[in-house]
Structure formats: C-alpha cells, structure tokens
Symmetry: C2
Amino acid sequence: MPSPPNLDNLGLATALAKARKSYHEGGVPIGAALVYHSGDTPVVLGCAHNQRIQKSSPTLHAEIAALEDAGRQKAAVYRHSTMYTTLSPCIMCTGAILLYKIPRVVIGENVNWVGGEDLLKKHGVEVVVLDDPECKTLMKRYIEEKPEDWNEDIGE
Amino acid sequence: MPSPPNLDNLGLATALAKARKSYHEGGVPIGAALVYHSGDTPVVLGCAHNQRIQKSSPTLHAEIAALEDAGRQKAAVYRHSTMYTTLSPCIMCTGAILLYKIPRVVIGENVNWVGGEDLLKKHGVEVVVLDDPECKTLMKRYIEEKPEDWNEDIGE
Ligand SMILES: [Ca+2]
Ligand SMILES: [Ca+2]
Ligand SMILES: [Zn+2]
Ligand SMILES: [Zn+2]
C-alpha cells in the first residue's frame, strides 16, 4: 500500500495542523491523522492532537485521540490505513497501532524523541520518517518551554 | 512492592465489578482498576470497564479507561501502583502500562485470550495471573454471545 510522497505530505500536514492548534492552546504539540487508502482517494478517518492539557487526559496521546476521532471501525479498514503522527509514537500508541494491525506509520520526526519504532518494524509495520523541519522546531520549542508537562506525557 | 493475596483479591474484585456492570449494559465485560500502594492502605486511583459499546470507543479498553479515570498522575505514582484487569491485557494496554512504568499487573484470567504478557515480563513488569473462575465464566459467555463485538475489540 505505498502512497506517493505528496500524499504523505498531505497526511503529515493534517497532523501538523493539529499539533500547532494544541501548541496554541498550551497543550502538548503532537498531532496525528488516521488515513484510509481506498482506491485513488484517501480519506482522513480521524485527526486529533494530544489532549493531556486540554482534557486533563493521560491516555489521549495524538494517535489514540485520532483513533478515537475515527470511531469504531472494522478490522479491514484499519488494515488499509496509514497513521500519520508528528512525533515518533510512544509504546502505548505503538501498541494501539499493533492492536489494529495498521500496516503503515508515517512519522514527522524522531529527533526530539524516539518511541516504539523498533517494535513496529519487528511486527512488519512499514515505518517512514519524514524528518520534517517544522515538526522538529515545534516539538523542540515545547520541550524547552514546558519540560514538566512533556516529561509527564512520556511517563518520566 | 508485593501485596498480600487478600489485597490482590480486593483489587480484582473491583475490576470484576466493573466487568459485570459492562456485561449488563451489553458491553465488553472487561474491567480494570489502578491501585496505588502507599504504605499500609492501598488507594483505588481509577476503575473502569471497556467502553467500546457504551461510548462507541475503539481505545477505551478497561485498562486505558482506568488510567483515564485516574486522571493525570505524576510518574512516581504510577511506579508504586498495580494494574488489575479481569483479562490478559492487549498490546495497546500493555503499551500503556509500559509507558507509565507500572511495575505490577494482576490478571484475572488468560484462558479466553492472551495479550502482551510476554512483553510486560521482558520489561521487568511483575505479572500475576489469578486464574479466577468468575472472570473466565463471564468472558467465555460474552465471546460466545457476541463474537463480532469481541473480534472488533481485539482488531480481528
Ligand atoms: Ca478531529
Ligand atoms: Ca471509575
Ligand atoms: Zn503515545
Ligand atoms: Zn487493551
């Protein structure tokens, strides 16, 4: 299920827009989008940002929130979808991707933090890292500005 | 952080009560409780059941819902807590337990289904399986009655 690079840029841009929104709300600036690839036209099933601050939530990381935004879906839908996320997914979100057997994950950047990429690959998930400058800049700024909130988000 | 067996029975009973509530609501009958062990008196920080049916949620498995019920907690709290769950935790919930470095997981049963127990152990988490007859009976009944909902819950 390869997507042309421009479609990946579109998916990441959707996730990044959510990350920016979260940043401007004072929240953790990580965004995600679950995109279903059906024929020629991809469909954004769900897109969301981390909700730790906004909803006082310890589990609504961006990827979990995007799955939640997409709602209940049949197994076949997940298996033809790509998860876009602005930052390397943590072990919880990695587990969610594996639970639903999402075959492909596109990551904005893994310079500021690295999550469960090895576990994804070990289970045959295609992992693409775009090394996006805007994702890197936004996350770096946040970690410097609010290290306590960030540490709480990764269980440190 | 060993707990006497009677405390584990108390934690599991809390989780099982939620599982039964979910069953009577027509939902997936899995319950969980996050219990903080501080000195002599354990505290139930959060307890909840699977919310797939009740809230049309693909991510509020019992363990995720219990973490959500507990709200934002400092890292040190999770590291002195036990997660009780009526059924072996899936890979998403396993990931959530690893994210927050919860050191101990007590499982009602792993006969009807086995999740990420090996990954928990590999990361040094203490895993206790109580092989509880009531957990087994409730889950077995549900899987027979609503196989489609159950399969959806495990990404099948
Ligand atoms: Ca959305
Ligand atoms: Ca509760
Ligand atoms: Zn995460
Ligand atoms: Zn689960």
